[in-house]
């Protein structure tokens, strides 16, 4: 069982870089030892937070945190592009399916992939896809 807050109770807490939470220190920041990845959340931490949300009776938030855990693997630029594709009339059905496949294949983001497929289906029914040229 994960005890909340993890910052106080999780001895295994690590940054995306793998650096232990306890080693993310001000001194290390000043000396130039830390990089941006040392201040990024690890997918595993988001999964633990998802479990905390789940046991607090919030399955929707837990699902969001699991999608977030998957998205930690996606680079910033691409993440912004993915969001853009999901906005109304930005993508064809095929493009959305390709996005879902990329999420599932490249980033092992099964839950997010399923989420994008659901969107593609609804967008098609509601006429929110980009018209093919």
């Amino acid at each position: 069982m994960n005890r909340y807050p993890l910052a106080e109770h999780d001895p295994d807490l690590r940054a995306a870089s793998g650096r232990r939470f306890a080693d993310i220190t001000y001194e290390a920041a000043i000396s130039g030892e830390l990089t941006d990845a040392d201040l990024r959340i690890h997918a595993e931490t988001l999964r633990k937070q998802a479990e905390i949300a789940e046991s607090a009776g919030n399955p929707q938030m837990a699902a969001n945190m699991r999608r977030a855990a998957e998205l930690t693997a996606v680079p910033d630029e691409e993440l912004l592009k993915m969001y853009d594709l999901l906005r109304p009339e930005r993508a064809t059905y095929a493009q959305l399916i390709a996005l879902a496949e990329r999420l599932e294949g490249v980033y092992a983001a099964a839950e997010t992939g399923r989420f994008v497929r659901e969107a593609a289906q609804v967008y098609r029914e509601r006429g929110l896809l980009r018209q093919e040229a």
């Binding site: 909340y4 807050p5 993890l6 910052a7 106080e8 999780d10 807490l13 940054a15 995306a16 939470f21 993310i24 001000y26 920041a29 000043i30 130039g32 830390l34 990089t35 941006d36 201040l39 990024r40 959340i41 690890h42 931490t45 988001l46 937070q49 905390i52 949300a53 607090a56 009776g57 919030n58 399955p59 929707q60 938030m61 837990a62 699902a63 969001n64 945190m65 999608r67 977030a68 998957e70 998205l71 996606v74 910033d76 993440l79 912004l80 993915m82 969001y83 853009d84 999901l86 906005r87 109304p88 997010t112 989420f115 994008v116 659901e118 969107a119 609804v122 967008y123 509601r126 929110l128």
Partner: protein, 752 residues
């Protein structure tokens, strides 16, 4: 001859027309246009049909007709394991559970998760504002209430932003939000308030309201620690006009969380009507749909309470109640609520304050989703319903009601000190990063400024180039931490660094999370609202209550009467027991503290000068005045009664040390009198002389016109504490068994 066709105007109606309330806009409801807060005849009745684990009918609509929003709610928001049970319970029963202290928040919430939008609205329809406030006190997710600040200025001056943000943090705001006048300034404005709040109080969360993609970029860089610009709408057309769908918004929610950044959605009554796509539905029904999207997307919370559309529901009957209902609905769904009160909603101070009470008294996670910590004209969100000019009022409201509204009173010296530190910190960071310099003169102006009028002109063009540079480079949180450290602000640097470090833990992604000054997270998970009636839940006590009481305007009781105390009057001396006179005289009886424990009246008249005036008046009518001091009572009527009893003429003047005077006649009932002067603060020496003259004329058997004294309607309001304390001091001198004594007053009237 007057024109008969001209209708007479009531002067009262003309006066009313000049009042602030009549600058407002009021409109009669029009359901077809969505100009109706609840009960549109086009709102669906609650319904839900589930077949094989799928929702096949939602609020009267078959699955085939589901729009984007129906689909999202059906797929992602409703808890189908409890939905049939919840929908079968009468709405009135659920409404009663909300106000029943014996029913826990958890019990209510389990059912709420199975309610459709129309069902949620139907529950609200059963409730009065008072009942909704009771519900909100119970359903709010975080036990401890908090508040959010808006910090902007039209000059987009970095030193002023930093100084105002630091002061806001010192004042207790748990979050600060900025925005831009010129969109490109976003990175620098975000930077300024980040440094400002972390100077003022470590752990305050910050955000910069801009376009979604830019907002995410700022968050990824660590320039902001949360965002709340994720607007959702209750109709498909409004959503698409907002250039999003529930799926794109939910994806963005996950994107922020993947970078460890807290996110709050935004919705509120009136937005769909304003965008022309209300589909004939009531505002509250559409808001219920928004809230289910928010829940379904897995968001931790929402800012609602109409937000920037607030003037629209407030133009309609029941609008303010509906706004409270939407706050309550959000909390019922387990969402953090930043409950509006932000955008300019009313010209009337009465109306805006009355509306605030609906959130202030029950308490919400953030009572304001932006209290303008700057003056209105510097508020780039479009005004601010409450602003920097109202800060003292707000502190007093907390003190009046013993309610934690999230703020604390501060002193001028600490405000100046923290503003200087923050302005110097941003100056140092600009210097370290090679941004256009912030001069010492700009820093000094920011320290003492009230508004951006107090700041020198700053060239925006190089600032904008620097802002572009931040986005183009890898300048991020670590860059800022190192710049602060190198610039001599390691304390601020540590706080900024800790904000970055907390992202790694992700604890503040949970509902209603804030940080205390030790960076301990407080959210619905570990600061769960456990309100269950009197004696439970959040109580304002102990240190926090002391802090809220200690407004800088409060004086120690002793200070109120310091001006009335001093060396005993040198020309007054006691001369044995008082006697019953036989001469045609007027006796002046004074209270037990007169000329000794107290030496001046409430408005600062020297006691000896008051006696001189009274005796001059008596002498001007050819009579003699005699002064006695009463010890057995401090009551004005009783003192006057003694004066009349001892007076040879039967006419006496009773004079309390604070100056209150009565003119009376022997034989009158204790509370009857010839003339009473209860408002001591209005009495001047000239009036005292007239009182003396009238006393003498009564003694001669004449019937003078009563002395005219102006009535000051605010005197009681201004002076009641002082009056009470002066009376208390006089009463302290009472000696029950001591008879009245003669007073020798070493003074002779200047006879004409």
């Amino acid at each position: 001859m007057a024109d008969q066709s001209q209708v007479a105007r009531s002067r009262r109606f003309l006066a009313l027309e000049g009042r602030d309330i009549n600058k407002e806009t009021f409109v009669t409801p029009w359901a077809e246009a969505g100009l109706m807060v609840v009960d549109s005849p086009y709102d669906p009745a609650p319904s839900l049909r589930i077949e094989n684990g799928r929702v096949v009918e939602l609020d009267g609509k078959a699955e085939a007709d589901f729009d984007l929003i129906d689909r999202f709610i059906a797929e992602r928001a409703l808890d189908l394991t409890v939905a049939e049970e919840a929908m079968s319970i009468p709405s009135l029963d659920i409404a009663r559970m909300l106000v029943d202290i014996h029913v826990s928040a958890e019990t209510v919430r389990r059912l709420v998760f199975g309610c459709t939008p129309a069902k949620l609205v139907d529950v609200m329809r059963q409730m009065s504002p008072l009942e909704m406030m009771m519900g909100l006190a119970k359903m709010r997710v975080r036990r401890t209430p908090a508040n959010q600040a808006h910090v902007t200025n039209w000059r987009e001056h970095p030193a002023l932003l930093a100084a105002d943000a630091a002061e806001a943090a010192l004042r207790g705001f748990a979050e600060a939000e900025t925005t831009v006048r010129v969109a490109r300034m976003a990175p620098l404005n975000a930077l300024a308030i980040l440094i400002g709040v972390q100077t003022g109080r470590g752990g305050v969360l910050t955000q910069c309201a801009v376009e979604e993609k830019l907002g995410l970029t700022l968050a990824i860089k660590g320039l902001t620690s949360y965002a709340e610009t994720l607007s959702v709408y209750g109709t498909e057309r409004s959503f698409v006009d907002g250039d999003d769908t529930p799926w794109s918004k939910a994806f963005l929610n996950a994107a922020y969380a993947s970078r460890g950044v807290k996110i709050r959605f935004t919705s509120g009554t009136g937005s769909e009507a304003l965008m022309g796509h209300a589909e004939q539905k009531s505002m509250l029904y559409l808001e219920a749909r928004c809230l289910l999207i928010t829940r379904g997307a897995g968001s931790q919370g929402v800012q609602n309470g109409s937000i920037s559309c607030i003037a629209l529901p407030e133009a309609l009957p029941g609008g303010v109640r509906a706004v409270l209902a939407e706050n309550l609905l959000a909390s019922m769904l387990g969402l953090e609520v930043a409950s509006g009160n932000d955008a300019l909603a009313s010209h009337s101070q009465i109306r805006k304050t009355a509306k605030l009470m609906l959130q202030f008294i029950p308490g919400t996670d953030f009572i304001f989703s932006g209290y303008s910590a700057v003056p209105k004209k510097d508020n780039m969100f479009g005004g601010g319903n409450f602003d920097a000019d109202d800060l003292d009022d707000y502190d007093v409201l907390q003190r009046d009601m013993q309610i934690d509204g999230g703020l604390r009173p501060i002193f001028e010296e600490e405000a100046l000190a923290i503003r200087r530190r923050a302005a110097q910190a941003i100056q140092a960071v600009y210097a370290q990063l090679g941004f256009p310099p912030i001069t010492d003169a700009e820093v000094e102006a920011a320290v003492t400024a009230h508004s951006s009028d107090d700041l020198p002109e700053r060239d925006l063009v190089p600032d904008l180039a620097a802002a572009d540079g931040v986005l183009a480079s890898d300048c991020g949180l670590l860059t800022i931490v190192r710049a602060l450290h190198a610039g001599g602000f390691p304390d601020v640097a540590r706080n900024v660094f800790e904000m970055g470090r907390q992202r790694v833990a992700g604890d503040y992604l949970h509902p209603a999370a804030i940080f205390d000054r030790a960076f301990r997270v407080q959210s619905s998970i570990n600061d769960t609202n456990d309100y269950a009636g009197p004696g439970t839940g959040y109580r304002l006590t102990g240190d926090r209550w002391n802090e809220i009481q200690s407004i800088r305007q409060a004086k120690a009781p002793h200070d109120f009467i310091a001006a009335q105390q001093g060396s005993p009057a040198p020309r007054l001396a006691e001369a044995g027991q008082a006697y019953v006179g036989t001469m045609p005289e007027v006796v002046i009886a004074v209270g037990p503290a007169f000329g000794t424990a107290l030496v001046r009246t409430i408005n600062g008249l020297d006691h000896e000068a008051v006696l001189e005036a009274l005796l001059t008046g008596i002498a001007s009518e050819g009579l003699i005045g005699r002064v006695v001091k009463v010890y057995h009572t401090s009551d004005c009527a009783a003192i006057g009664h003694v004066a009349a009893r001892l007076s040879g003429s039967g006419i006496g003047i009773g004079l309390q040390s604070r100056g209150t005077t009565v003119l009376t006649r022997r034989g009158y009932a204790p509370l009857h009198n010839l003339e009473l002067f209860p408002q001591s603060s209005s009495l001047t020496l000239a009036i005292y002389e007239q009182i003396g003259r009238n006393a003498a004329r009564y003694a001669k058997g004449e019937a003078p016109p009563p002395v005219g004294v102006k009535v000051d309607n605010t005197a009681r309001l201004r002076l009641i504490v002082k009056t009470a304390l002066l009376h208390r001091r006089e009463t302290e001198e009472v000696r029950r068994d001591q008879p009245p004594v003669e007073l020798r007053f070493d003074w002779e009237p200047a006879l004409p």
